[in-house]
């Protein structure tokens, strides 16, 4: 049997950021939900897992600080990825995550494709839904960080902003958290695990590479670009070892299961909570 050719997609740092985000995001969801849903029996039992009302917020705060550090580090990393000599191409070219007019066209073509009216859009390196995934986290994190730090130090924060902004901060923190959680646990999980081309799990973010056939099928424009640049040979990657594969399958499914558990219980108990 011929060995499947694999092409690099995510470098080691990208993958570390992703695992970091999985771990911190799930911790924040669990500790945050354990306090948000405190009026319910489920919330109380979840709260007990994290050592009660005071300890759960302590974990939430420290992991939050860790996430802020991760965000700053990621932003610095992002700045190093820009090619300052070719700024325009670097920011709006095919390898950039910045949304362009092309993405709007792809969206329209894809809607037509859903109903069998047109062909699949020629997706490049980053599909528009992948860009949305990225920027949703990227703007959500600072919002949660700023409101979170305000609520951590309300007395100090109220010296610089009027006290009633703390009311708004509580509301924004909770609403943005619920938005992020429902998006990740419904849409992102579906895209990564359940849709036929990904099932049982899209391994790209853990293995760091994708089989070249999948690339040709899913991202034809990027495939053509790599071919034209002659990178299909240089960007080759080794397949992940079996042991590593077992580890990331278990990890991925544990994260998926925990997320779905939180989501389902959150939906069931949503009638007992308010956003402020």
């Amino acid at each position: 049997m011929m060995q499947t050719v694999r092409i690099k997609r995510f470098n080691i740092l990208d993958r570390i950021f992703h695992v970091f985000l999985i771990l911190t995001f799930l911790t924040q969801t669990a500790t945050g939900f354990s306090r948000l849903f405190l009026p319910t029996a489920w919330g109380k039992s979840l709260n007990a897992v994290f050592g009660g009302y005071d300890t759960s917020i302590l974990i939430h705060k420290w992991v939050g600080i860790l996430m802020i550090c991760g965000f700053i580090f990621h932003t610095l990393y992002l700045l190093t990825r820009i090619d300052y000599n070719h700024l325009w191409v670097s920011l709006f070219g095919p390898d950039s995550l910045i949304p362009t007019v092309q993405d709007a066209k792809h969206l329209w073509q894809r809607i037509l494709w859903f109903f069998g009216i047109g062909p699949q859009p020629g997706i490049g390196r980053w599909a528009y839904w992948e860009k949305f995934d990225y920027w949703a986290v990227y703007w959500g994190l600072p919002l949660l960080a700023i409101t979170g730090v305000m609520l951590m130090y309300p007395v100090i924060a109220s010296r610089y902003v009027p006290g009633w902004t703390l009311n708004i901060a509580v509301l924004l923190h909770r609403a943005e958290a619920i938005l992020a959680v429902s998006y990740i646990f419904i849409v992102h999980f579906f895209v990564g695990h359940l849709r036929p081309s990904s099932f049982p799990m899209n391994e790209a973010m853990f293995a760091g590479s994708v089989p070249v056939e999948e690339l040709e099928e899913e991202k034809p424009v990027w495939f053509a670009q790599l071919k034209a640049e002659g990178k299909l040979e240089t960007e080759k990657a080794n397949p992940p070892s079996l042991l590593y594969k077992i580890v990331y399958f278990i990890f991925g499914y544990a994260a998926l299961g925990f997320g779905v558990y939180l989501l389902v219980n959150g939906v069931i108990n949503s009638q007992y909570i308010t956003l402020h």
Partner: protein
């Protein structure tokens, strides 16, 4: 005889010790100074907490046009008593419950049920009295009330929140439900943030859930190559 530092070398020692103190010892503000914010903020806080603007006495108020008065008195069609009927604004009384019949036998939440839904009551398990004080409960706008915004931060908030300032006391404890028309009238910033976030949540999910489901369904009917 002990080797002493010559008088001509004294300035060198003094200057180097002074430089050492200046550069390496912690600044005065770390140990001795009071942590303060900018002059503008301090003056504003002084204004709010003393009730004086320059030399003029002023009425305590909220800091922002985005927050209006929260102690509006709901006047029921039938007054509690003939005395109560003559009272226009209870928030200005020394005894805010004056003239209410059978007051001694009633509980706060019988009338103020909406005021028991906030985080301080439901999460911190505070009782009404821990902030509003013993009988007679003064109206919050009465000049000598501990709840009056000119001293609330010091007399009430700072009991638990050490260092609370006048601005901190601007936190709205009994906030109206965020999406309600009451919030639209009294706390528009809360109201519009709520509906903005709701629209964002509903819009994102309303777009992406069908989008992902359609992706899944469509991929099932994809023709295999070769």
């Amino acid at each position: 005889m002990r080797n002493m530092i010559g008088i001509n070398r004294m300035p060198i020692w003094i200057i180097s010790l002074a430089l050492f103190a200046f550069f390496l010892l912690p600044a005065r503000s770390y140990g001795q100074g009071e942590e303060v914010t900018s002059y503008i903020n301090r003056y504003k806080q002084n204004e709010v907490s003393t009730g004086y603007y320059e030399e003029y006495e002023m009425r305590p108020g909220n800091e922002s046009p985005l927050v209006k008065t929260f102690h509006r008195v709901d006047r029921k069609p039938f007054a509690y008593s003939s005395t109560a009927a003559s009272i226009r604004n209870r928030s200005l009384l020394a005894d805010s419950h004056r003239g209410i019949k059978f007051y001694d036998n009633r509980r706060c939440e019988e009338c103020h049920i909406n005021e028991t839904q906030d985080i301080h009551t439901t999460r911190a398990n505070l009782t009404c009295r821990q902030c509003h004080g013993p009988e007679p409960i003064a109206g919050i706008d009465h000049y000598y009330s501990p709840m009056n915004p000119i001293r609330r931060h010091a007399y009430v908030c700072a009991k638990c929140h050490q260092g609370a300032g006048a601005s901190f006391a601007g936190y709205v404890i009994h906030e109206p439900p965020a999406g309600s028309s009451a919030a639209r009238a009294d706390f528009p910033a809360l109201y519009y943030s709520y509906w903005f976030m709701m629209a964002l949540l509903a819009g994102t999910l309303a777009f992406f859930i069908p989008h992902t489901i359609l992706t899944g369904v469509r991929e099932m009917f994809k023709r295999k190559k070769g």
